[in-house]
């Protein structure tokens, strides 16, 4: 496919040559860039590609394409859903553009912000125009491949709903929508580049990725529960003239005017004209104004950072701020080695991007899943609410939240940059269990505890203060479960192993056994929850059990830890 696209670009070459572009160089740059894209793992599905990263290979390009086509099918369904064709297309193109812009931002940014280009391409005799154009064409090739895969289902569906004539037009509409997405992304980039450094920008992007996967998960589970589809189908967003300012409407209007002329109004006709012209104008704007500015910004960002070593005036030592987490670390992990484990886990977990991308969505899944299970009952919202209040669902909620611990534990010892972990092996650490227990305490205090506090507060608000004993008991049982998981599942020190290490089948079975065990305990708790005193008696028992487990966990030796070769 790349070769085909490259050949297509070659057709444009003679025309480009006249504008001062070195077409030979352009071709070489594009060829290499596409080659590298094929060898690079895709970031978009980072959270969901555990299986593919597990065996150390970049995710299969065909699989990625397949996922995109699948997304396209979901989008295409929208075209059937709505009664009014213009609305259907508007919604379709809104989703299409949002999805495309997000894919571009999340998946393509690392490619675009490749600062190596500054050292590899800039010292070579490549003129700015060639460089800028190579960048644009690189994006275009990427984008149109994406657009084609994503729009495939839509193209077929529109053939059925609107007749064959609509198909070529729809292709055109997709192209226009794509142009607009590019404009959108470009503007976002430029604004970001103006405001923040590339490093910071990458951070922001990882948050966008996290938000995106949460959004998809949430939408998938909750939207059907909250919205009545039959009402939605009749909705007419175009009832308001304001909505004609929305770009997807312009694109949708093209179809309305050309395929269903009788339905066309003055307003839709104007929108259609805008839909044809604005994307082209936008593309011109990107090519002539935004892209060169972008390159300049990138060059500045890449070349200036080495020179900002500010002289520090002697004696102007910063006053240490009151540091809550530091205090907490000293409180719960007083042993120096354990304290080190606590702090390193806390700092790295907060700063390693890939960890955040994998773990943060998991933190949101529990509430979403809980809402899903509680909302899926019969009756209206008040009835459901009444029902929830009269059975101890909070116990399920708090046991579900152990999921967060296991999500963190599964990822805590892995990172792509595992090399700095040599320090664990080089220093005279006799009981690595202390680092592990520090790590565990960090997870428990900084992720699980706040999480449970929030859930606890919500539970007390809904069910009243009599749930406190249940909350405490469940909290400690959750912690004990976490230790069991850590003991059997986490065989490495925090962030010390490359991501490609595979999880063995035996371990998954162990995990299931542990989870099953906690599930049984949870059900026991559920049935005992009627007798408040019993729960109160069990609380100290669970605390004692947790301390005992922690004691054993702390005594792990090097034999229990899988060493990495450096």
């Amino acid at each position: 496919m790349d070769k085909l696209l490259l050949r297509l670009v070659s057709l444009l070459m003679p025309a480009l040559q006249k504008t001062g572009v070195d077409t030979k160089q352009l071709y070489e740059i594009l060829k290499v860039k596409l080659l590298m894209d094929g060898r690079r793992p895709h970031a978009m599905f980072a959270g969901r590609r555990k299986a593919s990263t597990a065996n150390g290979k970049a995710s299969n390009p065909i699989m990625v394409s397949l996922v995109t086509v699948l997304m396209g099918i979901f989008l295409g369904v929208v075209l059937f859903l709505f009664k009014m064709p213009l609305v259907a297309q508007t919604v379709y193109f809104s989703m299409f553009m949002v999805l495309m812009a997000l894919t571009l931002i999340t998946d393509f940014t690392s490619v675009l912000l490749d600062v190596r280009d500054q050292y590899i391409l800039l010292p070579r005799p490549v003129n700015d125009r060639t460089l800028a154009l190579s960048r644009i064409l690189h994006i275009s090739i990427y984008v149109f491949r994406l657009a084609f895969l994503q729009g495939l289902a839509g193209i077929i569906i529109i053939g059925f709903t609107d007749g064959l004539l609509a198909v070529p037009l729809f292709v055109l509409q997709i192209i226009q929508a794509t142009f607009l997405s590019i404009l959108l992304v470009n503007v976002v980039y430029l604004v970001m580049m103006k405001l923040v450094s590339p490093q910071k920008f990458k951070d922001i992007i990882s948050y966008i990725q996290i938000a995106f996967s949460v959004l998809i998960f949430g939408a998938y589970y909750l939207l059907p529960r909250l919205i009545d589809m039959s009402v939605l189908a009749k909705i007419d967003i175009l009832h308001y003239t304001v909505s004609y300012f929305l770009p997807p409407v312009w694109i949708a209007a093209i179809n309305e005017v050309l395929i269903h002329p009788p339905r066309a109004t003055l307003l839709t006709s104007i929108a259609a004209i805008i839909g044809v012209t604005i994307p082209l104008a936008g593309l011109w704007l990107v090519a002539s104004v935004l892209a060169p500015g972008f390159n300049k910004q990138l060059a500045i960002a890449a070349t200036s950072d080495g020179n900002v070593n500010k002289p520090i005036a002697p004696g102007s030592v910063k006053k240490p701020k009151f540091n809550l987490i530091g205090r907490l670390a000293n409180l719960v992990a007083s042993d120096p080695v354990e304290n080190a484990g606590f702090r390193i886990t806390w700092k790295l977990a907060a700063r390693i991007r890939e960890f955040k991308i994998k773990v943060y969505p998991a933190l949101v899944y529990v509430p979403i899943y809980f809402l899903y299970t509680t909302l899926s009952g019969k009756g209206n919202l008040d009835q459901r609410m009444y029902k929830i209040q009269h059975y101890p669902a909070y116990i399920i909620l708090i046991y579900l939240s152990t999921f967060t611990i296991s999500a963190i534990l599964q990822n805590i010892s892995f990172t792509e940059k595992y090399k700095p972990a040599w320090v664990y092996y080089a220093l005279p650490i006799t009981t690595p269990g202390k680092i592990l227990s520090g790590m565990y305490k960090a997870i428990a205090t900084l992720y699980y505890l706040p999480y449970c506090l929030v859930i606890g507060a919500v539970s007390i608000a809904i069910w009243g203060p009599q749930v406190i004993n249940d909350l405490i008991l469940a909290f400690f049982i959750g912690l004990t479960y976490g230790i069991l998981m850590a003991l059997f599942m986490v065989k490495g020190l925090p962030f010390s192993k490359p991501v490609l290490v595979k999880q063995s089948g035996g371990r998954i079975a162990t995990s299931l056994v542990i989870t099953g065990f906690v599930g049984i305990v949870g059900f026991g708790h559920y049935y005992l929850s009627k007798w408040e005193t019993v729960i109160w008696i069990l609380v100290p028992v669970s605390i004692a059990l947790y301390c005992l487990m922690l004691y054993y966990y702390k005594r792990q030796t090097w034999e229990n830890i899988e060493l990495e070769e450096f």
Partner: protein, 257 residues
């Protein structure tokens, strides 16, 4: 040595925000010279190199290479320069052959010439067996060698080396040092930036010391030795203001008390 300077830098200034990194730098470099360019961290060394290689397009003053102005026609200058950057930046998902093919074509080299030359150079640098392996598995020294090759593949007049020995083993270091001498005999001008004083001392026939954006010493090692101190290390320390006393090391030793 020819009378016409190959590189002329006049009143070159560059600032980042309010911080002046280069202050009215003026410099003539003649063909065949090996320039050792030294200076403390943050003195403006990298900035000079980045301006010379066209990485930083906006600056004040004038940079002429072979009579061509950098502001006027940077592309023509870039053709004459081979640059080996300090931080081993290359596309490591490619193989050395793919990478060199790419770089060479950007210099508009014909494919057969490029491929034979790349093959010969890779073999000469001891990478003959790895030429079709992806570079993400390479050691730092191997990547550095590929980087060096990519800097000389188009047979440039001027070679700018920024800390080119990092990651190389002793034998490779000896080879590069010899290579620098040979290249200069061939009439190449070499601009060598490094913190390794002993190497600079040996390879360069003219040493430039930059401190706080200004060139504070310029001459052969011999002349610097006569006017300042007996090793380049000492010259460096003296001129960049490190006092002779042992106060720094004292402070370090005392920190254990």
């Amino acid at each position: 040595m020819s009378e016409v300077p190959l590189i002329q830098i006049q009143n070159l200034s560059k600032s980042y925000g309010s911080k002046l990194v280069l202050k009215n730098l003026s410099l003539d470099i003649y063909p065949g010279q090996v320039i050792g360019y030294i200076g403390p961290n943050g003195a403006g060394k990298s900035t000079t190199v980045k301006i010379l290689t066209g990485l930083i397009p906006d600056f004040e003053g004038e940079v002429l290479v072979d009579g061509i102005s950098m502001q006027h026609d940077p592309q023509e200058i870039k053709k004459r320069i081979g640059y080996v950057p300090e931080n081993a930046e290359l596309y490591d998902v490619l193989t050395p052959m793919e990478y060199l093919d790419f770089v060479g074509k950007l210099y508009d080299m014909p494919e057969d010439q490029l491929h034979t030359r790349a093959g010969k150079l890779l073999t000469a640098f001891g990478l003959g067996n790895n030429k079709d392996d992806r570079m993400d598995t390479f050691s730092k020294g191997m990547k550095q060698k590929v980087l060096l090759i990519s800097g000389i593949i188009h047979n440039p007049q001027i070679i700018i080396l920024d800390e080119p020995l990092s990651g190389l083993d002793a034998n490779a270091v000896i080879m590069i040092k010899e290579l620098i001498m040979r290249l200069s005999q061939e009439g190449k001008t070499i601009f060598y930036c490094s913190h390794m004083m002993d190497v600079v001392e040996k390879v360069s026939d003219r040493i430039l010391l930059i401190n706080k954006g200004e060139i504070i010493a310029d001459g052969t090692f011999e002349s610097l030795k006569q006017s300042h101190a007996d090793t380049l290390e000492r010259v460096f320390a003296k001129l960049t203001g490190r006092n002779e006393s042992d106060s720094e090391t004292d402070a370090i030793i005392n920190a254990f008390d």
